[in-house]
Amino acid sequence: MRRGLLAALLLLAGMHLAWAISDPAEELRDPRLETRAEQIGRQLRCLVCQNESIEDSGADLARDLRRIVRQRVVAGDTDAQVVAWMVARYGNFVRLSPPLEWQTLLLWGSPVLALGMGGLVVLLHRRNRPKPPEPLSEAEQARLRDLMKT
């Protein structure tokens, strides 16, 4: 399930598009491995920048980490293993998308939570609606008919 989630995240992350100026010599020769390395890199935070991934940043540390990601990909690590390598040294802080644990339940559950609250408010609103007027009784209906005739 974790792998599926990671794969889904990587797929959605593929919509993002930005690169730091980097050396062409940095890129791996195999385009598939290079794409994989880039996708992994997009999940990792540049630790000396504000809120950028290592693929977006021109910082020295980001370049070092990019190099390491590529080395590990070439060495045969899976995506999860590369990320785990980084997390072992820098903690979950290095992941731009935090793992799904009990500490992040509120975070990952926020879409469902928000929709649920919205739905609740709508339901309560409908419950408190003013009631439609009561139907008229027989005597009142007769009186209405008389009034309408005149």
Partner: protein, 178 residues
């Protein structure tokens, strides 16, 4: 009842932010700091060359038997220059410091130590910066207090101040000395 909910939420949020700001003012909360993963763990395995003489390795730290400070520094780093006098003062107090030069040239480092003074008992150089990444470094200077068995017990990201030496380093050095 429902109408008071936004107010309650806003008050809660406001209180939370106020708490954050107070802690920032006291210095006990730093939104930009990155804590170390090595706390209470053994230092990662490494072996580094020295500057003019032999360097050192993790095995040296495991077998040391007394606590030591490991200080990552560089000649191109202004906060390192700021903390240098504090390191010299610690050396005078007989606190052992081992230095690791990060991403720098050996000649520049030797020159620096010759002109400003050498507070380090032992010196090593990590020119490519790979060992530093194993230690979880995000910049220089960073200092780790390693106990006699090679476990990291304290970490500081940034320049060390005299206050830190008196309030944190000295007590810990005493605690982990046998």
């Amino acid at each position: 009842m429902l109408f008071a909910a936004p107010l309650v939420a806003a008050v809660a949020a406001g209180g939370g932010f106020y708490a954050v700001l107070r802690r920032m003012q006291h210095g006990s909360f730093d939104p930009h700091g990155v804590p170390t993963m090595l706390l209470n763990r053994r230092v990662p395995g490494f072996r580094l060359p020295g500057l003019a003489s032999a360097g050192f390795a993790s095995t040296d730290l495991f077998a040391l038997g007394h606590p030591v400070l490991v200080n990552f520094w560089a000649t191109w780093c202004p906060p390192c220059i700021e903390e240098h006098p504090v390191l010299m003062a610690m050396q005078a107090q007989k606190i052992p410091i081992w230095g690791i030069v990060y991403k720098d040239k050996a000649e520049a480092a030797l020159d620096y130590l010759r002109t400003r003074g050498n507070p380090y008992v032992r010196n090593a150089i990590d020119a490519p910066g790979r060992v530093a990444i194993d230690w979880g470094l995000t910049g220089v200077p960073e200092t780790f207090l390693v106990d006699g068995d090679g476990f990291v017990r304290w970490h500081m990201s940034g320049a060390i101040t005299r206050k830190m030496v008196a309030e944190q380093i000295e007590p810990l050095m005493k605690k982990y000395s046998r």
